[in-house]
């Protein structure tokens, strides 16, 4: 007997596994309880009927099995899915990308037997297993998502996480030098390949552009970090993106060693995402609509160099699909209750059985 019987037992086991992973936002069992309560209304909603706010009762049912198609650029997305799936108590299947995900495979291997038995890692896609799963979760390019979506049955729960970009915003009042220091960590995390990776920093005050770009370049240089063993393609795309910026007349800051980060000082109000691996642009912010319209559908999060944001800007961002706002420097550290692409991560997976107020469950 290896399967935890109740949510509480799973919470304890999952918390023990992920307690040493602050990057996933787990700080202990209580953080997982809070997550369940926040998303399902009650931490025991998966085990028993719990009262609904305005009468009646409801019990959540987790998918029996969840089939994940993982992207090659980011292991943490798959690891988060592992954490959430284990918390739900579902059978979890992970189809690896061609390049593999060593971090995820290591995490799976390190699971205690009771949880390990719930997880299957596949090198090759298994269409039958996917068709038999209650839920399908896919991470990847638009094309991958589109292809998988075509094969999923409408009865299956389908969650897709495609291309997204994030950016930083410096209001006129922000001190560029101070915020540049904080921005460095979010730029370099995960090789800048995730949806929460900032591609651009938008300066409300155009005079801040060269100051912030210079400060960012200095701060990046001070880290001494250079991406190790960059794939040929990545190096080529970085070189090409630098050339493109030079062609446009933008100033390009690079490390003394040439290899590594890039800061482009743009002259115009436009977002042009880079190839990742520490490639960012600093943009003089002009008209928001003009700036964001080309990226509608692809916007994820904003890191703000301030403690407050005018409601008018927040409303506009929301209308543009921006689903998370945080302090600059914290883009890559979303809290556990973060709503990925604006959607709850557990609640989207479960199915509810509700009982009207005039009827109640009885033992037996």
């Amino acid at each position: 007997m290896s399967e935890p019987e109740s949510t509480q037992q799973r919470i304890v086991e999952v918390a023990a596994v992920f307690a040493l992973r602050p990057d996933l936002g787990v700080t202990g069992p209580d953080s997982l309880r809070a997550l369940l309560e926040g998303e399902l209304g009650h931490e025991e909603a998966l085990d028993r009927f719990v009262p609904l706010p305005k009468g009646g009762m409801a019990r959540a049912m987790a998918p029996f099995s969840i089939y994940h198609i993982c992207a090659g650029n980011l292991a943490i997305s798959a690891e988060t899915s592992l954490l959430l799936g284990l918390l739900l108590g579902s059978e979890l299947i992970f189809k690896m990308p061609e390049v593999g995900l060593p971090d995820l495979e290591r995490t799976v291997k390190g699971l205690p037997d009771s949880l390990r038995g719930k997880v299957t890692v596949l090198k090759q896609h298994d269409e039958t297993l996917m068709q038999d799963s209650d839920a399908v979760v896919v991470f990847g390019s638009d094309q991958t998502v589109r292809e998988v979506a075509q094969t999923v049955d409408w009865r299956q729960r389908f969650l897709a996480y495609g291309h997204k970009i994030s950016f930083g915003y410096l209001p006129a009042s922000a001190d560029p030098a101070v915020w540049a220091e904080l921005a460095v960590r979010e730029i370099l995390a995960y090789d800048q390949l995730g949806c929460l990776s900032p591609q651009s920093y938008l300066c409300e005050d155009p005079d801040s552009v060269p100051i912030f770009a210079f400060a960012l370049a200095e701060a990046l240089e001070r880290t001494g970090l250079t991406p190790s063993q960059l794939p040929f393609e990545a190096s080529a795309l970085i070189l090409e993106a630098r050339q493109r910026a030079e062609l446009a007349g933008d100033k390009v800051h690079v490390p003394r060693s040439v290899v590594g980060w890039t800061v482009v000082e743009r002259k115009r109000n436009a977002i042009e995402p880079g190839p990742g691996f520490g490639f960012v642009e600093v943009v003089p912010l002009g008209d928001w609509t003009e700036l964001l319209t080309p990226w509608l559908g692809y916007l994820s999060s904003v890191g703000v160099a301030a403690e407050t944001v005018p409601v008018s800007i927040l409303k506009f961002w929301q209308a543009c699909g921006i689903s998370r706002v945080c302090r600059m420097g914290r883009l890559q550290q979303p809290p556990l209750n973060w709503r990925h692409d604006g959607r709850p991560r557990l609640a989207d997976l479960v199915t509810w059985q509700t009982m009207d107020p005039e009827i109640a469950p009885e033992a037996g």
Partner: protein, 341 residues
């Protein structure tokens, strides 16, 4: 007094000595650095002083994408006699290459084609591309037409329909007629056109002495195509030895071409062209045997820019290039946009 254009024209010959290439490359570079506004701006922004460049290897290469965004020319707008456009891949934007005259282009194309391929006055030309009157902005159509006018006058069949698709019926009929008359053919088309035709045709043997040439690779094609299997199938379908199949490397932004006999797999380029392979990680020349990004120096690009940076990759081999394909993700940019599952 001989002009620079005339000097370059005379230099487009197979026996061009290294020293003459070097001198002309530097001369043309300085001319373009002065008269090509886009190139001049690029050099200024990258801190390059033209007078300080003393070796053709030091000539900065303009990213070929510049042709998609700007007018890359040394002569005033309105003086172009011809504009070729890039076909475009997955992005909507296409590039344009303007020519003040086509003499250099014609001489470069003809010189290398004649030197590389065993195509002479015997073959009937069966071309799987639209004729230039239908596609006046296609450099491939223009080049093949220009070559055919001198090498095969009156013996050319454009085997495509009005939409530019391969006309299988016309091709089969032409091959059959040539077979009956024991007349070898020169069959040329894009890699995509030939691959599409071979999906419908199992066996269409060409008469002895025939030559097949494809060009363009498989940009924009949904499924991946293995070049080895592609040429093996070509050999089988057309009944020709791999030594009779050639691949042309060309791009709208260049005026010269490179050719590889697929049995050997090494693209060779003319004496007026140099290829520099760049290690993208360091920005310096790739080590011997190492894959690098191709930067071309093409003297025939007299009215635009002679040094071009591309995202095509190759390994230097036996005086030529073993092509390694285009950088993956080159047309998808940004964040995870550059990465596929």
């Amino acid at each position: 007094m001989i002009t620079l254009e005339q000097e370059i024209f005379e230099a487009l010959r197979p026996d061009l000595p290294e020293a003459e290439f070097e001198a002309l490359a530097l001369k043309l570079f300085r001319h373009q650095a002065e008269h090509n506004a886009v190139y001049r701006g690029y050099l200024a922004n990258t801190g390059v002083v033209a007078a300080a460049v003393k070796d053709w290897r030091g000539i900065p290469a303009l990213p070929s994408r510049a042709f998609k965004q700007y007018r890359v020319a040394t002569f005033p707008e309105g003086e172009a006699v011809r504009v070729f456009r890039t076909s475009g891949t997955t992005r909507a934007e296409t590039g344009r290459h303007e020519f003040k005259n086509l003499e250099h282009y014609e001489r470069a194309a003809s010189g290398m084609f004649r030197a590389a391929l065993a195509v002479d006055h015997r073959q009937v030309w069966l071309l799987l591309v639209p004729p230039p009157e239908d596609r006046p902005e296609s450099s491939l159509s223009w080049m093949l037409d220009s070559l055919a006018r001198t090498l095969a006058p009156g013996r050319v069949h454009w085997c495509v329909d009005r939409e530019g698709r391969v006309d299988g019926g016309a091709l089969r009929a032409a091959v059959q007629r040539c077979g009956e008359e024991n007349q070898p053919v020169f069959l040329a088309g894009t890699s995509l056109a030939l691959a599409d035709f071979m999906e419908r045709e199992d066996f269409l043997p060409l008469p002895e002495g025939s030559v097949v040439m494809d060009t363009g690779g498989f940009k924009g094609r949904q499924r991946e195509v293995n070049p080895f299997l592609h040429y093996k199938q070509m050999s089988k379908v057309f009944g020709v030895d791999l030594r009779q199949i050639w691949n042309e490397y060309g791009m709208t932004e260049m005026s010269s071409q490179a050719y590889a006999c697929v049995a050997e797999g090494i693209h060779r380029y003319p004496a007026w062209v140099r290829a520099r392979l760049l290690d993208p990680a360091t920005g310096r020349e790739a080590a011997v045997g190492q894959r690098g990004l191709i930067q071309w120096i093409d003297l025939a690009n007299v009215g635009s820019v002679l040094a071009l940076a591309t995202l095509d990759t190759a390994i230097a081999d036996s005086g030529g290039l073993r092509m390694q394909g285009r950088v993956q993700g080159a047309d998808l940019r940004g964040c995870s946009l550059a990465y596929e599952a």
